[in-house]
Symmetry: C2
Subunit: 346 residues, 2 copies
């Protein structure tokens, strides 16, 4: 029966008006006879009535749905973020629409428009940074909107990020303290994407702090196409400039770097040290167990959702200030940088 039961049916069955049912449903019983409340509640239960959220949303201009657009589901980092978002949303009574832009501007645009048509109450997005005017439009439309993980330079948005300068610096400092001097960093093309830019900045800062000159040839940019990293690793390791340590700035990249090293018959950490960005379930099971820069991903998702919901629910006459929340990463030290004796690790 349930699926077709409407409020009118309930009202009829209980011998009251729709308004009464509506009030009781929404917890405004202050005003109702206990008897009425009881009766209506019973009918609702008996008929297994479930309010139609579309109708409610249409009328009330609130859907309790939040849209989230990620750029890559394969990376476990995002799954953790997602869990943080999901838990928070569920506990606050919001449902989630999840989409994947795959870093493509068109798809991102399509999803954003879908969200608007579906009247979501707010959007969380790891922006491709390729739809600047669209993000701006969102703001003009006063649709609550949070950029997660990436900063949108030049535009003022609510943002939740991890401090990537700090992350890069943490890793490189660790390598330097272990006695490494020729440290390479691998990156995907920066293209205005803040984590990439900032991790590189952190790398440079750390070198500078220790008076090491940054060598452009040790800054390796590779496309995200499969195999491209592996090739570059081999090239670099066979060149004059062979580094004694590598900082990888992405999960999947790290696995490819490992392959490249293996291809050459070299060993981590004996022949070369390696630090990965993002802790994963498998980090400690690699050969050797990997030292990683860990980002508080779950927390990031949580904070983004909380912030968004607060934006949504704030009386918008109050018009909250833009806010950037920045979290700190930390280093998880394992064996991939070796244990060099006589070196004082802090």
């Amino acid at each position: 029966m349930s699926s077709k039961v409407t409020m009118t049916d309930v009202a009829k069955e209980a011998g009251v008006s729709k308004s009464t049912v509506s009030r009781i449903l929404n917890g405004n019983y202050g005003q109702n006879t206990e008897k009425t409340v009881h009766k209506v509640l019973k009918v609702i239960d008996d008929m297994d009535y479930r309010p139609n959220a579309l109708a409610k949303g249409l009328k009330g201009m609130k859907t309790n749905v939040i849209g989230i657009i990620l750029s890559n589901l394969q990376n476990p980092f995002w799954i953790k973020v997602l869990e943080g978002v999901e838990d928070t949303c569920r506990s606050k009574g919001y449902s989630l629409m999840i989409c994947n832009s795959n870093e493509e501007a068109d798809i991102e645009e399509e999803h954003i428009k879908q969200f608007q048509m579906r009247q979501v109450d707010g959007i969380i997005i790891n922006p491709t940074i390729k739809n600047l005017n669209l993000y701006d439009q969102l703001k003009k439309d006063r649709l609550p909107f949070i950029s997660i993980n990436r900063k949108i330079y030049g535009l003022e948005f609510d943002t939740v990020v991890v401090d990537n300068v700090s992350g890069g610096k943490l890793a490189v400092t660790h390598l330097i303290k272990l006695g490494n001097k020729k440290i390479a960093i691998f990156l995907y093309p920066t293209e205005g994407i803040s984590p990439r830019i900032e991790r590189l900045a952190g790398y440079k800062e750390a070198l500078k702090d220790y008076g090491i000159d940054s060598d452009p040839e040790l800054i390796v940019i590779a496309k995200e196409t499969p195999g491209s990293i592996r090739e570059k690793v081999k090239q670099l390791l066979l060149s004059q400039k062979r580094p004694d340590a590598i900082l990888s700035t992405n999960n999947m990249m790290t696995l490819e770097i490992l392959e490249g090293i293996k291809d050459l018959g070299l060993t981590v950490p004996d022949d070369i040290s390696l630090i990965g960005y993002d802790e994963t379930v498998w980090s400690k099971h690699l050969n050797p167990p990997l030292t990683t820069v860990n980002q508080p991903s779950y927390e990031m998702g949580q904070l983004a959702a909380e912030r968004l919901i607060s934006l949504i629910e704030s009386n918008d006459s109050v018009d909250e200030e833009m806010k950037t929340i920045s979290l700190e990463p930390n280093l998880i030290i394992r064996e991939s940088c070796g244990f060099k004796e006589g070196v004082n690790i802090n």
Copy 2:
């Protein structure tokens, strides 16, 4: 401007009626003057009008939203499934609401009810198997519904699964051919969950085929609480019954088994062989590279979505037959079962 523009506004601006706008929007131009069509289309574009999906859904009884409930986001297997579902949905014009039951009956129930209230057009679910009457109710409500990955014994549902008997058998047969006789299998509590039951069945079948007696002590059931598997591995390997090979039936479980083995200072495959269930990005990077049972997860998602959409769009007077789609797993052979000489594999 966009966010508040309604069809009435467009109609007014274009000097036509709402009906006309509606028709044009929905591609029923057959009947309209090219001039009108042009004019309206231009206004729509100029005003950046986006139809309100709620209103449309309310009226039309179709939302083009599909709900999917998974039980565990951490497992990359599900992410692949999700990608298959997402790609298919997007290409067919459906949006996705994704939820996570965490194997908990209450949460599952809550999500299903949410979906119904939100008038989703159909549901894909990896069922906890703990809400049998709810699944049944769905059927009675004639809400298109697909069970993915798990069979719901005793109830007739549309289902997309991978053949798990075959998967278990494949793995064990491989181990036997490599000369292993004492083969253990690790499982989470079966609790009516078909993949677990069937993988065990496949294990037994393979043993039987080769005239090996199945030893109950080599069938290890462990809770899903962290560390529980690791403990059991150690117990088993220190016991009289120490096996020469282990079949793990889950991704995360495999990592824990590896830890247990490492704790004892033993080596794979020299001291013990290991096969993992589900191929992942990291399988080939473990030490040693892991032989796995690979499931066509992306395809599974794809098929489930296609089937669901076909159910949704089928004129339901036709009332399609229930259907169970079963896919075949395959073995990816690496080094974790050793290369024993003189043994004919295959």
